[in-house]
Symmetry: C2
């Protein structure tokens, strides 16, 4: 059984570059701060899970196909938090009582740097090929810059090759394309949970590919030296569990830095995970995704790139590229951005890191003051905070009820269920924002937590809430 | 049987605005020029066909899923013509013996106007929301401009509503999204053929949706008053044929102006077709796609919009929108472009039409001089030319052989098979290019046709050639 998986597995890793450009450096640490894992072992925790996005929805539309009705429900379900937020966004001057967004994983600290760079004269160049149908792998001058950029910042032992690069409109599109060309309908990828929940949609919406979760939890036992630690043993258990249910697992998804945990996998750990996936790490079956959303804080730019040495995969993804194309002038701007090593190293990275560090220091001090346990972050824009002691009972109804109380009190967070976390009560808090907004958001969190938590007995069952506080 | 289809059908119409902004005005005409339909009735022509993209490919990759292998083959197959072209593009100075591209349906006449407009200062504005995750329906200020633009240029009887607009990265993405949310896997859309062949991929790659062809041909008989005329009778025959094969047809795709024929459907005709699809035209089941590629000659910009009054469809497409997102600054530029009515009306449209008219006049005079029959075009960038008399036999092998002789003689055309035309020997010739390139391309065509056509007996069977000279 196991060897079949090993023959079939494809390693799928994400964002190696992030570990160099996003690393917060001084804020490394291990384990939970204060009270760490006080609620462990209260109830048995499953070691794996199997996502079934279709099972959560049932409302059919007479105007849509069966799958269309399910696809539509993803939007409906994701809307509660973001709909409320977009109708009532906080603005210091115009809407000081509006909602503070601690939910969307975006870097709002460097808009001045990026808009200034993107408005420089060299960005406004247009040539006929930029306005014409492109090669769907992307313009060669951009693929060339991507290869150079990733070679440099990922410290590649040998230069990466432009012909192995395919660029599309964002990493979400690459998850969709890779799921479709690596899996047949109903097959699955293995992923450690909690994980960035939107991947569920990205691999399912078009691809009809499911996720098998290798559940991590806060208990520190046996081989684990920190909470939520990923081990090969946990991957093996999840894989065997999925196999016992007849699920064909075709690959392993690793997000690095991990979202929502903020972990960075060490080279040794990555090696272990890839060996698990394919005895020896196999470059022909290891496909790397990287995008500018997090490292450059420009999620609205919609830029993602695949790097793979396997030309079958590159060509199959390029075939889908006509559905994920990027505007030619944007390709030019991204190329200009990536090649401007002076600006990146001397202006952007140092300033971005300093601002992120300051925001992280502020938010973690506040959390400590409020006696809220959290996982120390190595990278990313977020901290994974432990609000289990504020739940009346260890249920996702309770977690959702708390999430909703935050929202009603004008602060939007992402709750653990949105990341398929197995333990109710964890939340992701995004800190990459201006201090005055962080301060106000933390005040509001404190005000909610100081009140006695309310029972949530009138709420509908857990299933119907699953996607309601979706992450981004 | 028939009423079931009527209950299920969805009308899907494309590019109503094009009829006003692309209409060549003075070049209207009916019927084939010179020799018109001399080869008619030589052999029986099927009245309908059923596309089966998977049947054409068989090479499995050990690195891909079954569907991934098929998806990859689309890229391999499409490459011959465009690969040759991109390796050897004609350039007046640098590569005068390079390939002239009469194959890609792009307007190369107005780059100066567009690049000048897109480089004006008002285009270079950046605000934080443009760099952040957007609503996947598009920024509201863009949807607002799209609604105003389409209301004005489509002469909408009542203003179109911004909330019915969803913008994505190109019309290809909308075909993919609509196919997926309107059809379940294996279901089909009905489409008159010849048609823009890339739609096969757009609905099949992710959606696994097939096309049923209502074959049009050059014979003028009975109800037809011009060659390749679409009638409800032909749609009915194709629909019944598909039903007899157990195919569930979920909608009708109409491209207006028609590609490759260049026809514009009159309001009366459109009404008939929509009544066929749904007894009475039903706004809740009529979904309109429009894009900037053709009307503004900026296919590299990747902009397409859906207009639908049905919110289930809009929301389901928006759910897929995370995979088809457009860069925020590009959304801003498109909004600026669409709202600049002065530039569009006084600069762009008049100049664009004058240049297209001149190019059309030149190419049709050349065709007449060469005694090549063609369909007079009402709109679009192309003429549908009849080279049947140059084939040794009425086969697609012969057509492909002629297409390849053109390519070897450095002129790239699209052959009829790429549009699923049922009669071998038709080609689409794109004329929206500078006169010196048109002149050289026509010289090369003449040189090929003056030689005695060669037999093509050594070629592989028709099936394997189906996608080889794919259109764009």
């Amino acid at each position: 059984m196991f060897s079949i998986f090993k023959q079939e597995a494809r390693g799928l890793a994400t964002s190696p570059a992030s570990s160099s450009t996003q690393d917060l450096g001084t804020n490394c640490g291990e384990g939970l701060d204060s009270e760490s894992s006080e609620k462990t072992d209260k109830e048995p925790v499953d070691f794996y899970g199997l996502g079934d996005p279709a099972a959560e929805f049932s409302q059919m539309s007479p105007y849509l196909s069966s799958r269309g009705s399910i696809i539509k429900c993803f939007r409906d379900a994701a809307e509660e938090g973001y709909k409320a937020y977009h109708l009532d966004e906080y603005d210091e001057d115009k809407n000081p009582n509006g909602i503070i967004n601690f939910g969307t994983s975006e870097n709002k600290l460097c808009f001045d740097l990026l808009s200034s760079r993107l408005n420089q004269r060299d960005m406004h160049h247009i040539e006929p090929p930029m306005l014409q149908y492109p090669d769907w792998k992307g313009h060669m001058w951009l693929r060339d810059e991507v290869a150079k950029f990733l070679s440099y910042y990922c410290k590649a032992p040998v230069p990466l090759k432009p012909e192995n690069v395919v660029v599309v409109n964002g990493c979400a599109s690459l998850f969709s394309a890779l799921a479709t060309v690596l899996c047949d309908p109903g097959e699955a990828f293995l992923i450690p949970s909690p994980y960035y929940g939107a991947i569920t949609q990205h691999v399912y919406l078009y691809g009809n590919v499911r996720l098998v979760y290798a559940h991590l939890d806060s208990r520190v036992t046996g081989m684990d030296c920190r909470p939520f630690q990923l081990t090969v043993k946990k991957l093996e258990i999840a894989l065997l569990g999925a196999k016992s249910e007849g699920i064909n697992v075709k690959g392993l998804i690793l997000i690095n830095p991990q979202n929502p945990l903020g972990d960075i996998y060490s080279q040794e750990r990555l090696q272990e995970y890839l060996e698990f996936a394919k005895r020896l790490p196999d470059p022909q079956r290891t496909h790397v995704i990287w995008g500018t959303s997090k490292d450059f804080g420009i999620s609205g730019f919609r830029f993602g790139t695949l790097y793979t040495e396997n030309q079958d995969v590159a060509n199959a993804v390029a075939s889908l590229g006509c559905l994920h194309g990027i505007c030619g002038t944007v390709q030019y701007q991204v190329a200009q951005l990536l090649r401007d090593r002076d600006w990146i190293n001397q202006v952007y990275l140092s300033e971005n890191h300093a601002r992120l560090r300051a925001a992280y220091a502020y938010i973690t001090e506040e959390l400590e003051t409020l006696n809220i346990p959290f996982l120390r972050t190595k990278a990313g824009f977020f901290v994974w905070i432990d609000l289990r002691k504020y739940l009346c009972s260890d249920t996702f109804e309770e977690e959702f009820s708390l999430w909703r109380r935050f929202l009603h009190h004008k602060v939007l967070l992402s709750c653990g269920k949105a990341f398929e976390c197995k333990e109710p009560g964890w939340f992701r808090l995004v800190f990459s924002d201006k201090i005055h907004r962080l301060r106000l958001g933390m005040q509001r969190i404190q005000e909610v937590l100081e009140k006695e938590p309310q029972g949530a007995k009138t709420l509908s069952p857990c299933q119907s809430l699953e996607k309601s506080s979706q992450s981004r």
